[in-house]
Structure formats: C-alpha cells, structure tokens
Assembly symmetry: C2
Amino acid sequence: MWILRLNMTDRSAKLEDVPDKYGGLGGRGLTSSIVADQVPPTCHPLGPNNVLVFAPGIVTGTTAPTSARLSVGAKSPLTGTIKESNAGTSWAPALAHMGIKAMIVEGQPKEKAKFWTVHLSWDADAGVPKVAFTPADTYTDGDLYEVFPRLFDAFGNVHVAGIGVAGERLYGNSGIVFNDLKNRPTRYSGRGGLGAVMGSKGLKFIVVDSAGAPGVEVADKELLKQGSKKLADALRSHDITKPQGGLNTYGTAVLINIMNEAGGLPTKNFSSGRFDGAADIAGEAIFEGNKERLGKELYNHACSPGCIIQCSNTWFAKDGSEIASCVEYESDWALGANCGIDNLDQIAQMVKLCNAYGLDTIETGTTIGVAMEAGLAEFGDAEKAIALIEEMGKGTPLGRILGGGTNTTAQIYGVVRSPTVKGQSMPAYDPRAVKGIGVTYATSTMGADHTAGYTIAPEILSVGGEADALDPEGKADTSRALQAATAFVDTTGHCLFIAFAILDIASGLEGVVDEVNAVLGTAYTVDDVDRIGREILRVERAFNEAAGFTKAADRLPEFMKYEELPPHNQVFDVPDEELDSVYGEM
Amino acid sequence: MWILRLNMTDRSAKLEDVPDKYGGLGGRGLTSSIVADQVPPTCHPLGPNNVLVFAPGIVTGTTAPTSARLSVGAKSPLTGTIKESNAGTSWAPALAHMGIKAMIVEGQPKEKAKFWTVHLSWDADAGVPKVAFTPADTYTDGDLYEVFPRLFDAFGNVHVAGIGVAGERLYGNSGIVFNDLKNRPTRYSGRGGLGAVMGSKGLKFIVVDSAGAPGVEVADKELLKQGSKKLADALRSHDITKPQGGLNTYGTAVLINIMNEAGGLPTKNFSSGRFDGAADIAGEAIFEGNKERLGKELYNHACSPGCIIQCSNTWFAKDGSEIASCVEYESDWALGANCGIDNLDQIAQMVKLCNAYGLDTIETGTTIGVAMEAGLAEFGDAEKAIALIEEMGKGTPLGRILGGGTNTTAQIYGVVRSPTVKGQSMPAYDPRAVKGIGVTYATSTMGADHTAGYTIAPEILSVGGEADALDPEGKADTSRALQAATAFVDTTGHCLFIAFAILDIASGLEGVVDEVNAVLGTAYTVDDVDRIGREILRVERAFNEAAGFTKAADRLPEFMKYEELPPHNQVFDVPDEELDSVYGEM
C-alpha cells in the first residue's frame, strides 16, 4: 500500500510508504487528515501550497457492495474551508487495486494555463504503479462529451479523472469529473470548486489503467464475505434501496414530490417551498416519461461497479435518443424548481451542459436562480437559463461571473437573497421548512451540504427515527449524530445511500463494520462508528478554525431569519446556541 | 445637539437627543460606536439591518484648522468588517453647524433600484433641522460631473453627499462622494464600498443647506482659540505641512519619487517596488508640468474650509483646461505605477472617471492591475485601462466584475497575486519593503489601509521618530501606537495630515487636545490621546470578532511570504506572533 505523490512543479512522481497514522484510514478520513497535516490553513487555495488528494475508501475495490466511492480533498477555493467531495466511479477501485491508498497532487507549474495528462498504469515487472506525464494541449478548452472519447481512443481501457473548461479557468464552481460505466463524463466530485484546484496545478486528466494490478489487500477474506452479505441483504430488503425500490425505479428525483408536499422544495431562488411544476419534473415523471418515449419500463443503472442500489437514471428524448444521464434530484431541483423551470428536456439539457463544462449542477442551478433574481432572465425562462450556462462554457465575463458560483454572482449583482453558507450554495431542502438540515448546512465543515448530515432521513423520510421537520427542538443532536455517521461512511468508501438501509436495519451496519475489520484487521464494533466519525470531524473543524472560521460562520444567510417561506410561512428559528452546540459537544 | 435618524423603509426622519455615551465622541469614534451598538455583526451589509452613519468630528465646524472632516461608518460590503471612511468636505461642517452630531440612515425601500434625494435644511422658526424626501430619478445613471451642476441648480447653495453609478449598482468598489470647494464631485469616502450601502438604502443624495444654522456649541471659546493657534502654528512651521511646503507644492504625489527610491512603490500589480516611469508621474512632475502648461507656478488648494495645509492639486491639459482634481499620491500610484502607466494626462483622466462613476481610485487601480495580470490588458496600456474603467461606468458584466473590486476580480480570473487584506486592496506601499505598514495592513480593523496607522512617517519620512523600513523588528509597537493615535485624530475631525506636525511638534498635539477640551468641556491631556484611541479600536475590533474575524484574517496575502520583491528582494517576514501582538496588547 502506497501514497503516490505527484509534484506538478517539476512533474515528478514518488511512491511513499503509508505512515502508520494513515493506515487505518481511507476516503474522507484520509483526505481530510492529509490536507490537515500538509496544507497551511491560511494558504491561497489556488496557490502552490494547497494540495489535492484522491483517496478510495477503506473497502473500495473489494466485494463490499456499493463501495466504489472516491474522496477528493483540498482546501476549497469556493468555501475557504477544508473540503471533501465524493464521487462514485470505476476510477476509485482502479486506484485501490493498484495499492494506492491516496494520491497527493502538489506544487504547480510556473507556466500558466499549461495542462498535463498523467497516465498511471501497473508495472507488472517491478510490481509497482508507474506514472507518465504528457501535454494535454489537445484536450483543453473543449466539451467533455467530445474530449472523453478521444481520451479513450488514445489511452485505451482506462478510468478517467479530470476537469472541464470550468476547472481550467479556475472557476469557483468547478468539479472534478470521472467516467461512468459507459465512459461518459458524468460522475462528479462536484462541490467546493476542487476542479479549480486541479486546474491551478496544471493537471487536466489522470487516466488510470489498472490492468495487472494485484487488487486490494484484505486481512480476513471470510469476514469480508460475511460483512458484504449482511450489507447486501439489508440493501436488498429496504424499500428505498432494494431492486425496483424507490431509488432504482424513480431515482433520487423521487424526492421532488415528497419535498414539494413538505413545503420545503426551494423554488425560484428560495422564495417559496412549493413549485407549481413539481409533478412535471418529479422522479415519477421521469419514469413514466421514459416509459412512454421508449415504449418500455426502464429501471435505473449503477454509477460504478458493484452497486446494488443502482439509482442513476437517463432521460431520453421523444426520438429515443439520450438527452442526459443522470438527472439527479439535486440537479433536477436546482436547474428546475429553483429556476422556475418545469420542462424535463430542458433541465436534462442543462445537466448535460454542466457535465460538458465541468460544473457542479447544484451550484449552477442556484447561481442561475440568483441571476434570475438579479434580472438576467425571468424565472421559468429555460432558454435563457441554457444560454447563461453556455456563457459559462464560453468564458465570457458574464460566464466567469456565473462560474464564480452563487455567492459571487450575488455579490456582483448585489443580491441579498444568496442561499449560501461559507460560500457554498444550499442544496434542495429549504431549512425554514426542514429545520434539522439547516443545522447541518450551518455547521458542516464543508459549507452548505446536505450529504454532510442528512437529517432529511428522520425529518421527512421516517428513516432512522422520526422528527417533526418544522420543530427546531433537538435538531442539533440529530445533525451531530448524522454528521459523525456520515464521516464514517465517507471513510469506508460506501455510497452514503447505504445509510437508508443501515439506519433502519441493524445487521446492515454490522456488515459495514465487519467489512472494515476484514480489510484493516481491526476489531471495531458498531459502537466505534460514532467515535471514528467524530474524530474525522474534529480534524476538519480544527483546520477550519485555523483557517479563520468561527461560530459566526456557522450561520444561515440572514434573510432566512426575517423572510418567511411559504407555504408554512416560517423563518429559520433554531437558536444560535443550538447551532453552536453541534461542534461544542462534538 | 442631535442624532438625526433617517428611515428609508418609510422615508421618515427623527431628531433624537444624543445619548450620554455618545456625547464625548465625534467622527470615527462616534460612527464606530453607533455601528457597533446598532448593527448585528453577522448581518448582510446590503440588507435591511445595516446602517449608514455620517458624523463630523468633535471640532469640525469650529475655527480649529484643517478640521472639516467627516466619518462615514457601516458594516462594509467589501470587507465584512466595521468601516470608517473619511473625507474632507464642506458637507461636514454644514452638518455640524446644524447641531447634528450624527446622521443615521437605516432600513431600505421595498422597491429595488428606486432612489431618493434627502434635502436637509434649517428651520429657523422651530430652531431645528428639517428633512424632505424627493425622488432622485432624474439624477441616477449619470456621470457625476454632469449631475452635480443640475443638483446645485435645483437646490441652490447646498453641500452634497451622494453616490455615483457604482453605488447605485451596489459595487463592492463604490465610494460616497462629497463636493469640494468648487462644487466638483471629487471628495470621497472612497474605501470599503460604503457607496453600495447608501445605494442599498435607496439613497442617492443628501443635500444640506445650513443657512441660518446656529453653529457648533463650544464650551470654552477662549481655549478653542488658544488650541487652534497652537495647531495652526505647528502646521505653518513643519516642512511637510507649511504653506509652499512639501504638500502644498507637490501634493501627496510628492511621495512617488520617495517611495520609488525606497524600493517600495508597488509596480505592475505588486511585482516590483520600482517603476521606470516614476519620475514622469511624481508630484514634482505635476508641479513642473502645470507650470509649463499654465505659464506660472501653481500651489495647491484646500479640499474643504479652514485648511492650512492645502494639498489638493489640479492637473491641467496643454491647452490650460482642467483634466482632473485631485491627482493624489494614492490615485497616481494605483492608476499609474501599479498599472505600469507613466502618462499623467491619462492617469488624471482615469481619476476623473473614478470621480464621475463614484469609484475609489485605490481599489480601481489595484483592480486594473489584477485585470492586467489576468491578461485583460498589457501593463502600461493606458487606453485599455481607461476602457476598462468605462466598462465599470457602463455596468457591463466585465464592468461589474471590476466594480466588485480587486479581490473579486482576482477570484473571478483565478489570479493568486491579489494584493488585499480582508477583501480591501493595499494602498501605495509594498509591505515587503516597508515592514511596519504591512503590520497595519494586516491588523487594521478596516482591511488594508495605510491611513489606519501610517508607519511610513517614521519608516520613510523620519517623522515621529526613525525606523529601518526593511527591519521587521518592533513594528507591531509602532503600528499599534499609530493606529491608536489615528483613531483619536479621526475622532476629532482633523485631517490625518496634521499628524506630520503634531508628531514632531509637541505644542501642536497640545493644541488639538485644547480644541477638544474647548468644545466638549473636558479636561483631557495629551496622555489621554492613546487611551481614547485604543478604546475606539477595541470597539471596532470587538465588532469584527463578533462578525467572525480571527487572527487568521490578520495576515497579508500569502504570495508576499514567498515572492521576493525587487529591488530589495525581500519577502514579508514580520512573524505572525508579532502581528497578533498588535491587538493582543491593545
């Protein structure tokens, strides 16, 4: 097991032994620990002293189900905080199969706007990974749907990590793209502008050919088999995660109708919690629409190898051709309801543009929402919204403003209703209607992030308990517990969606702990999960504090305290002291 | 004496008694205390809960020389900190003459982009100020050089405070403009984006007609006369401030050659401390150039009534017509050396454009410098630089980016060399060549600000002692002492330029204290100056801490720690602990 260090100043690569302190970590726990250890907290995120870290989870690359996840870490140019952004992709197990626990990209070329491709493959003779740098000139400045096929033509059967024009141009809104199972540029570590960090290092693509690699070392293969089965059984039996269950049938967009009903679907730049056109863009509409257009029922597919849940959809045009994969709930909402747009074809077209340019769909949709409020387009004007995203692709001054993200766009146009925390835009749940998620947005080490502590589970879905979404009481405890559990899951390499099953089915969680013990040779119990999660959160929190963040940054945008959200006409009323208790008692 | 409160939500005005706690304050001490008391530190600077405070100094409006200064305070949209921005203008004594110690503008209209003019005059019958609101529709969206004359036509012999298009559009770089003695729109509270705060409140102009007003209450007129004479004598005898002395002859731009010689004149976006064209844009060149063009020696004029120093210049064209007043050192440097531009006619044209649009010249010049580094123009291309400022006037997307200020422009274009602290750009002294001013930039409650603690006096000018500019030792003590003295001076209502005389001539400082005692009826001695200054700084610092600023924000931009500045090839090497001691020992 190694740490692979790529230095972009002199384009050198170095294989290092894994220090003992990192040995028991993977995924988020590892990226956050490396960033905390190696990055000066007050450094410029796009300067020479930031690093970009890629780490598969602890069990990634093994038979553990739904575990092909990757964590990408750095100091974020969007938030200024530590950042872990997570994606499901075959690139993750490919790295794991080569024995690479983490890849650290550091330094930066003197020459600006010069990009390189790293080719990582397995040297069977030496029994080690090998690295080659080649100029990426022919791949820059293009649409990733056009560039990706050329990349596979050139490098063969590889797995790809990279950036689009957004990352090349150092946009605050720029993700890191990975291939899906059909080699489309659709899997994203989208949040936090990590594409710009990669761009600042002159790194366009990292293509990985893991052929011949030995695979992941497993301390106890029998235990891995047992653990994997327990988790697989749980996933296959829970209504949300089972085959032809909620996610496999309707995708994550199954939440559109649910959140609209709950009055918490942020609409027209967070000015209402209900959207008239919700039913037209809901997961049910996608399923039924595809059925009508294709003449058959289409269940969803996996984003990455070994997934049981298989929640990724594709939206097809009337002629049966693919418009885009995948129209996630967050994308559907951000580019749809939040912009007052109710046309799935146009929403899918916008998703595809985001994928083509290397943009985070959430940040893009919330940015367009703010731009609409600023008068750059009418709410509901999908053609203008598409044109605005195309500006981002072209890199015009307007495109650069929008590419700067939601908060930057709000600042530039003087829009006070900027739905952001620590510079990162809120996802698809209005915290005035779902109080617990507001606690997570406010206090997360990542800026506004639903995945950091998904209180929607108990507050809306009755998973892992039940809570009144409108009641501010007790939400700090809920958020804290879920933030810790999430940090653990993100460290294992499992997709967060296993949470639905393991929160409700005890043997599922046991299975995850078994898997981790099987790989690491540890003897954790389920009681260790919360402790391990909290340790990771404390590392992240300490980085943020050293970077200058105080409890004053653990607040929702001020307008949510005085603007009531229809239909419940509530403000965000979780007391500041309650917010401060999340990390005060971590 | 009153506090006048203008509520822009319902356009009402209220005269209030001055609370005891504010009675002994004026200028900066008063604006900062009011902001600290009334503004929630984490509020949105452009939202309904910020306030904008105008306060003449304690002795403003009396016979005290060089004291027609005004403090404007708010939470800054540029820095997120508390902000005091200071201007010299007849508007300040006009307010003081009406017995108004502070004017507080609060609330905001529901209707966006609708602007109002406030007409403040003296009701002789009632013996109180009176206020009228009228729509400002005919004054918006225009060049202030065209708008100002129409305003004087409409309102007669008034004094004017207002905003240009920059403030209307809520730019981060937007100042508050005041008339000079020729009723030109040239006197600015330029720093910190306070024009946007005024714009966010729908307030375009405040015109003041003080005819008939009773004047400033003075507790001891004889003492005032004595104090004024002591200060006047000091000002008239110091080489820098005396008639036909340094400032009256060459203006503040006398510093161009001095700072260039010292290797600390930031050139081409802070990439060097020496500028080849320095002599062509220096104060001496302005004096000699005017002499040649006008056929006579021209000494400088006062910006406001009662000034002895009279440092404001005017730059004339070959045909004898005025190009712009005033080409200050900071403007000359920012739009000149920092952009690699060595043509005074073009620099003056840019100054005039900044005045016309309501932009801070410092922030504008540093923004253009960053834009040049981003490739939007070549360094030295004055025509392109002028065109970029015109974009700001037009409000195009590019203009809005630039209008967002230096740090926003750097973020949008991914420029790491952003010469800013807390979002505000550095003035005309590179801290790698003048270490003490770096301590002030880093730790000031205002973001990067030379006026907050002008260590250039001892480090470069041998005023108030002598210090080696390149030596990092002891600079925290120097900066702290000057920051406190400055807070006191800014509270009295004197121009900071009296500091040259009062640092070197003891009777001058005694005179200032006499004046304050004369107005307030207090019995301060010169030993109280530091204490009073520190109290004000602690109020400001506490606001910033509650707004979320920690010592991590008291740092210079990272590049100054690893990029050496020619010709001395030094980095900024004052230790962090030394920076932290400035307020640690305040």
